[in-house]
């Protein structure tokens, strides 16, 4: 075996180092990128394409321009979906966020033996699968056998036993919304608590020195400092409403009539019951564009913050 004289060319060494570095980076990113390319980027492009097609899974797809969007805009189901999505977002913001603020503030202001267990309990319903939440919702709100109707008839409260929580057009939305509030207020609670706990200690001490206590402290000091947190929660609620499907679908199938139809349910019906891929894709595009707008709103609002 002859020993070859190794010459160290610094340029070559550096180039080799760079190459091994690039290969390493490429290999690390490859799995993630591969997954996203197949199951996200490609379907995104395909959704946009399909939304301009007449496509039913049978036969050739045919280009029809904006026809799908026009048909959607004219359909009662889509209009109802759009309305409910925004009503849902509005009431989530009006009811769930103030409730969460009250609880989060109280739990961080009065720290005692029950604070930690209470926080864990409030978040519990959040991680239940939506199917279980729907099951418990029907357990409470079902006609005749549901807990509320049953209580009403047991105690002879006619007004209660006569209420059809899921079958009455004016009640169904609120029944489903109540279940959602029960399940999903946990997140804003733990989020606001975490943000309040990040405040500098001087906040509370200074307030105590100045004699600002209790609700004045909450209103004049804590709330203004939670502005960005509350805006983020509001955007998350809105995006969540745009995607809403599981609870109303399992509890009422969007009914009675269109009383609890959401954009998600409308998409499912068009795509997987009527097999109108084109129209369903158009709903997907609408959901995407609306959530994009609200996401951009969140980020552009964030820039104005001095943090």
């Amino acid at each position: 075996m002859s020993l070859k004289m190794k010459t160290y060319d610094p340029l070559l060494v550096r180039r080799q180092a760079k190459r091994s570095r690039n290969i390493f980076v490429f290999l690390c990113v490859l799995p993630s990128l591969g997954f996203l390319a197949l199951f996200m980027y490609y379907p995104i492009v395909e959704t946009f394409r399909l939304s301009f097609m007449k496509a039913s899974g049978l036969g050739q797809d045919r280009f029809i321009g904006f026809e799908n969007y026009r048909k959607l805009w004219a359909s009662a189901e889509f209009q109802a979906g759009l309305q409910h999505v925004f009503a849902w977002a509005f009431w989530s913001i009006i009811i769930q966020i103030p409730l969460a603020f009250f609880i989060a503030f109280s739990l961080t202001f009065y720290v005692n033996r029950v604070s930690k267990p209470l926080r864990a309990i409030y978040y519990l319903a959040n991680i239940l699968p939506s199917a279980i939440t729907a099951m418990l919702g029907k357990f409470v709100f079902s006609p005749t056998n549901g807990i509320l109707n049953n209580l009403g008839s047991q105690f002879g409260w006619k007004w209660l036993s006569a209420l059809d929580f899921l079958g009455d057009e004016s009640l169904a939305f609120w029944s489903v919304f109540t279940v959602a509030t029960w399940a999903y207020t946990g997140f804003p609670i733990i989020y606001l608590m975490a943000r309040i706990e990040q405040f500098p200690k001087e906040f509370k001490e200074a307030a105590q020195l100045d004699g600002v206590t209790g609700w004045k402290y909450a209103w004049y000091i804590v709330l203004p400092n939670l502005k960005s947190a509350i805006r983020i929660l509001a955007v998350l609620s809105t995006i969540g409403s745009l995607k809403l499907f599981d609870l109303p679908y399992m509890m009422t199938v969007g009914g009675p009539g269109y009383a609890t139809v959401t954009l998600g349910i409308s998409l499912y019906r068009q795509g997987f019951i009527n097999w109108q891929y084109g129209r369903a894709s158009a709903i997907g595009v609408v959901i995407f564009l609306l959530s994009l707008i609200f996401t951009i709103l969140e980020f552009s609002g964030k820039k104005g913050d001095v943090e």
Partner: protein, 284 residues
Amino acid sequence: MMEKRTRTHVRHGLSEIIITCILCLFALSVLLPLFLPWLFVFKTQLEYSYSPWSLPNKIIWTNFQEAWASIRIGEGLLNTLIVSLGAVVLTVPSSALAGYVFARYHSKKTEILFYAILIGYFIPIQMVLIPLYKFNIKLGLSNSLIGLILPLAAFNIPFWTLIYRSFFQTLPKDLGDAARIDGAGHAATLFRIMLPLAAPATVLAVLLVFIAAWSDYFLSLIMLNDQRLFTMQLRVSQFLNSYGTDRMPRYAAAALISMAPTILLYVLGHKWIIRGTLAGALKE
């Protein structure tokens, strides 16, 4: 000693008591629907219809057996376990590798790739449902558990890449550099030094990806048609449709069985679950 105590724990007297009572009432209203089924589950249908609100005469387990058999819960649990573990196995390593690179290897190209993955975080699954379904048919994966696992992983990867990235950014930079100077290659540095240090992030990722996959409903509904492949959540909704609340004791039993795994997981791991959720939310 006394002084120290009053400093850390300020007493507020009456207002504290009233507010704490209100908070406890809220907590009770969270727990009530979870515990109420226990009142009905040990009764026969006859006993239930005569006196639903009394305590059961004697403890019977037939309702659990009936609920278990009606939607074949054993099969459902097994399917859901496969789906959840599959999602964890595909999501967590991919995210860890990508997150590490984005934290430690800065260049124009990696930055572009990072944003490409970040976009995925903002894509609602509804947006891509139809093509995903058609794509799965084309690949011959429709109506199979793997056809559900793959897109589930894809949808969890962006978030956890983000979390791993910010976790690796918090580790001191010298750690990796020292290893590199000692002659360790890129891969050795990652696998021997950095990944073990990222164990806390990995625990959160495994737990929360598992829960997310376990809870999935919409994607499973689209991807699975064969009843034998149904996950727990699909079986629950099947139970709602075909059995309903007509026989409350059986309904209560089905509810109690199907919520048990999640509740158990939460009781054991709620600290990490909450920490993981907040780790993501506070990063935004």
